[in-house]
């Protein structure tokens, strides 16, 4: 404890009322400020897309990263794959089979601090009925009352049978899909410890 903190100890009642930076749990994901985007490559041309509707539950205390929790649920029908034709196409059985599998989920099982503001989040990703282990680097920036969480990872679409049949030809649509997520979470006053 610093001298400064020692002096504050007598006033610990006050300390409990004011959420100190080290003891804030960020757990309110601000969906309108967040985004979930991806880049696929068609004939080596990067094509950007995004999911417009998703939900996320996060509980992140920068002082206790290992205890952090994170969940993401994505509405597959909300995809914007770059064009109307593409949106219709990726809803079909060969791609996401959106009718049978309307949502995709990621549930984090561990969060490791990598030093600085970098973390590694590992968990299970379920898309189209297939669940696989997934790990992604994440950076967290604290800005005012929010935690800004950014990450980028590459998944292989074949791992989840996304685009099989005639689309399995990676020379047209590459196997690697880059995912970029940007989540903004604030601390709910009630949950601040």
């Amino acid at each position: 404890m610093t001298k400064w903190a020692k002096r504050l100890v007598p006033g610990c009642a006050l300390a409990f009322l004011l959420p100190a930076a080290q003891a804030v749990e960020f757990n309110q994901v601000q969906i309108p400020k967040s985004s979930l985007a991806f880049v696929s490559k068609q004939m080596n041309v990067p094509v950007e897309g995004q999911f417009k509707s998703f939900r996320s539950k996060i509980a992140f205390d920068p002082a206790k990263p290992a205890a952090a929790k994170a969940e993401l649920e994505i509405d597959m029908a909300s995809i914007d794959a770059g064009s109307k034709d593409a949106n219709d196409e990726v809803a079909t059985k060969a791609w996401f089979n959106t009718q049978a599998f309307p949502t995709a989920r990621f549930v984090a099982s561990s969060v490791k601090a990598l030093g600085g503001n970098r973390y590694e989040v590992a968990g299970k990703m379920s898309i189209k009925g297939t669940t696989r282990d997934l790990a992604t680097p994440v950076t967290v920036r604290l800005d005012g009352g929010s935690a800004i969480i950014d990450g980028s990872l590459v998944i292989k679409r074949a791992d989840y049978a996304i685009g099989d049949g005639m689309w399995a030809d990676f020379s047209v649509v590459a196997n690697e899909i880059q995912i970029k997520f940007h989540l903004v979470a604030t601390a709910s006053p009630a949950a601040a410890k």
């Binding site: 004939m43 041309v45 649509v173």
Partner: protein, 196 residues
Amino acid sequence: MRINPDHPHRVDNGYTGIAISLHWLIALAIVGSFSLGLYMHELPLSPQKLKLYSWHKWAGVTIFLFVALRLGWRLFHRPPELPATMPDWQRKVAAATHVLLYVLMFAVPLSGWLMSSAKGFQTVWFGVLPLPDFLNKSETLGDTLQQVHMLLNFSMAALVLAHVGAALKHYFIDRDDILRRMIPLLGKRQTSGVVK
């Protein structure tokens, strides 16, 4: 051999081999990409369709570059004189058609490239060299440019048909050297002059 009085060093009665090669190379490429464009547009979405779209774009960029080369060559090599028998109005129509064809040979690939940008698909030449996107993605602009690209193409097709018709008329009816000098294989009608 007819000598151009203004440029006595220039052989003035034939297209150069470069001009002829570029004419036919570009003509073939344009007819091919035009047909490909019509065909691919009708296909249902498939990997094959995406491939054909890319090939069409690569061909368009390539044609654009060859046309630039051709125009550069043309600026320093005047085409041969037209036969003296050709009436003035025909000379004017021929000259105007050629200018318009040059304009369209640039405008068609340009409109395709801009359309692709507006539709949110960058053009990556042969899958290797990314061209810049001068337009941001916009559905309405993309649709407008698609109309423009089609209109320019059909205008070019109409002009090419007239152009081919004229060439055939020169060959079969006027029986002059106009088609022959663009197709040296046909040989020369008159024995004067040397094809360069």
